[in-house]
Amino acid sequence: MAGSGKAHLRPEDETLIRVEDLVVEYDIPGGDTVKAVSGISFDIKAGETLGLVGESGCGKSTTGKALIQLPKPSSGSVKHNLVELTGLSSEAMRRRRTDLQMIFQDPISSLNPLRKVEDIVAEPMKIWGPKDKSKQQEMVDNILDAVGIDPEQARGKLAHEFSGGQCQRISIARSLILDPEVLICDEPVSALDVSMQAQILNLLEDLKKKYHLTLVFIAHDLAVVKNISDKVAVMYLGKLCEVAQSDELYENPAHPYSKLLLDSCPEPDPTVVIDQTVSDDDELPSPINPPSGCRFRTRCPFATEICSTEEPQMEEIRPNHYVACHHPLT
């Protein structure tokens, strides 16, 4: 199956994570297949933050989960430190997961509502952490404090006693407790108020420096992604559209979908007039039957004949700025 090209990949020995031709498909009732991720490739250097943005349902969470083999991808390769993860036994993969941690979307439901906060946060230490109870307690307290939760107050409380944002902070604390190498954050701040969001983003930046963390940051808020990321990858319907350094991408989006995303950002200004039309009848592209050629063509104002017959491949249009489009914007 045609991928979207690999021109944007860097030499393998310079990267910590390398994903090639990743395909994830789900069978659903009725004999259909959801083509959630259809042959994407990307890499991440140690200490780098890769931002992943794109439309709801385009495969961001699926991509994040594929990095930790939850579930194992349908095909393609995922390497961590040059080790192929798709071939690992489940025991070996479990060991790796202390280095590769993920914060899942839906903060409230990802925590067991009836467990104590200290137990939730300490959970990853059960198998891999220090055995000394008081050392564990100290680590839990430190990390809770680091995410802005008062350990004295929170320790013994149950998860359901916390607000949405507080739950998110607790799940961030849990994912950091084992001091991972790579942290995959799936919408880690979308449930937070903007001040807490700022605190968490600053915190992630600090932790990243302190522990030389590598981050994958999935979010739909473009300003947030720009703030935290070194590099941004834009996804659409299971494919990669564009990859560039974040400042470059936001200044010069070259893919029509990236441009649309940037243009649709709601401005914090009540005098801006909003286009209120509700489009009922335009056809919604679906990962069950994705459009041929370029998957964005059904919504692209620049689509031509070739867009429906040939899948665009990644090309470098400026130094380190790659785009998969037959008619990139310049």
Partner: protein
């Protein structure tokens, strides 16, 4: 405790032609926990007219969801104490018998819950969840329900709805689950909708479409909406009025336009300062609010924002500022040293001189940004 509430100041419409859809007065909600009483909502009042949108913003944990659930009388557990009133078309929701309440639910009022995964039943196919309520109310057949479900999923822009009806919630993406929750809420064609962070999981293009859909519902049915969100872009573009909450209290309330032009409360100002902007370079340090959210069992004395406020003075720590009108009278704020006043500037200077950490942080960022402007 806050004794002056906004409702005291709200003038009832003289001609009565547009009596409000919902009038909420002095809601207090507390949770009794082993450590004491968690005062989650401490005297909130507001009103909402037909077809209008009230935006609610505020700190995580400030009581937005608890407020919505209190007004909607949704189960908050058995350790809850609620007082106050919430009159929907004149009758107090908080006094209704369960039967009458049920009738209201699913006919007139609906809610979109904050966390889709907890709102949906993980073991039931989404198609059935979308129409369960309507089927019950309208007594329609299975087949009719199915085609209604397809329509609803179409409305919330889920591609290939026929293929998705038989999916379970975990088989959908986060944003799809959120749209399912919106479809469920809209299924009964409510006249009052509480939407608690309805678009947090959506990218900007889908968010735009969903907000347009809600707007159309508002226009066709004059639906009133309380929109809880932390996205100030959404507040700006989609609400008529905005209410800012901190530690269970309303600290500022006004027409959205005026709030953005002339914010009065230091917490509101701090919220705006902390948003990342697309025109800033990546890795720009964000200005978060110093310190931790308040302990709701033992809230700070005086103004609840005082431990974190850059303008705090002794008076703030001693006396709780009442929510009072500013300017034209429909803009309310609860602060002794409102933003933009001479007293506020004075307080800032004093705190800088005294080396108050939360003030110095702000001073530093202000100097940095003015240096940058000078440099350009």
């Amino acid at each position: 405790m806050n004794t002056t509430t906004a409702a005291d100041n709200v003038a009832v419409d003289a001609d009565n032609s547009t009596s409000p859809l919902l009038v909420v007065e002095d809601i207090h909600t507390s949770f009794m926990v082993p450590g004491g009483e968690v005062k989650a909502v401490r005297g909130v009042s507001f009103e909402l007219n037909q077809g209008k949108t009230l935006g609610v913003v505020g700190e995580s944990g400030s009581g937005k969801t608890v407020l919505a659930r209190s007004v909607m009388r949704l189960n908050l557990g058995n350790n809850v104490i609620t007082s106050g009133s919430a009159k929907f078309r004149g009758s107090n929701i908080l006094d209704l018998r369960p039967k009458a309440m049920q009738k209201l639910w699913g006919n007139e009022i609906a809610m979109v819950f904050q966390d889709p995964m907890t709102a949906l039943n993980p073991l039931v196919k989404v198609g059935r969840q979308v129409t369960e309520h309507v089927r019950h109310h309208l007594g329609i057949s299975k087949k009719e329900a199915r085609s209604l479900a397809i329509d609803l999923l179409n409305e919330v822009r889920i591609p290939e709805p026929e293929n998705r009806l038989d999916s379970y919630p975990h088989e959908l993406s986060g944003g799809m689950r959120q749209r399912i929750c919106i479809a469920i809420a809209l299924a009964c064609e409510p006249t009052l909708l509480f939407a608690d962070e309805p678009t947090t999981a959506l990218d900007v293009t889908v968010q735009h479409q969903i907000l347009n859909l809600l707007n159309r519902e508002q226009e066709t049915r004059e639906m009133g909406m309380v929109l809880v969100t932390h996205d100030l872009g959404v507040v700006a573009g989609r609400t008529d009025e905005t209410m800012v909450m901190y530690a269970g209290n309303v600290v500022e309330k006004s027409s959205t336009k005026e709030l953005f032009e002339d914010m009065q409360h230091p917490y509101t100002e701090a919220l705006f300062r902390s948003i990342p902007k697309t025109n800033e370079r990546s890795h720009t340090r964000l200005t978060a609010i110093a310190g931790r959210p308040p302990d709701l069992i033992a809230p700070p004395s005086g103004c609840s924002f005082s431990p974190r406020c850059p303008y705090v003075q002794q008076k703030c720590r001693e006396e709780e500022p009442p929510l009072i009108p500013v300017n034209n009278g429909s803009h309310f704020s609860a602060c002794w040293f409102p933003v933009g006043t001479e007293e506020n500037q004075e307080a800032f200077r004093k705190n800088v001189a005294a080396g108050l950490p939360q003030t110095l942080v702000i001073e530093e960022t202000l100097t940095k940004s003015s240096e940058k402007e000078d440099g350009v």
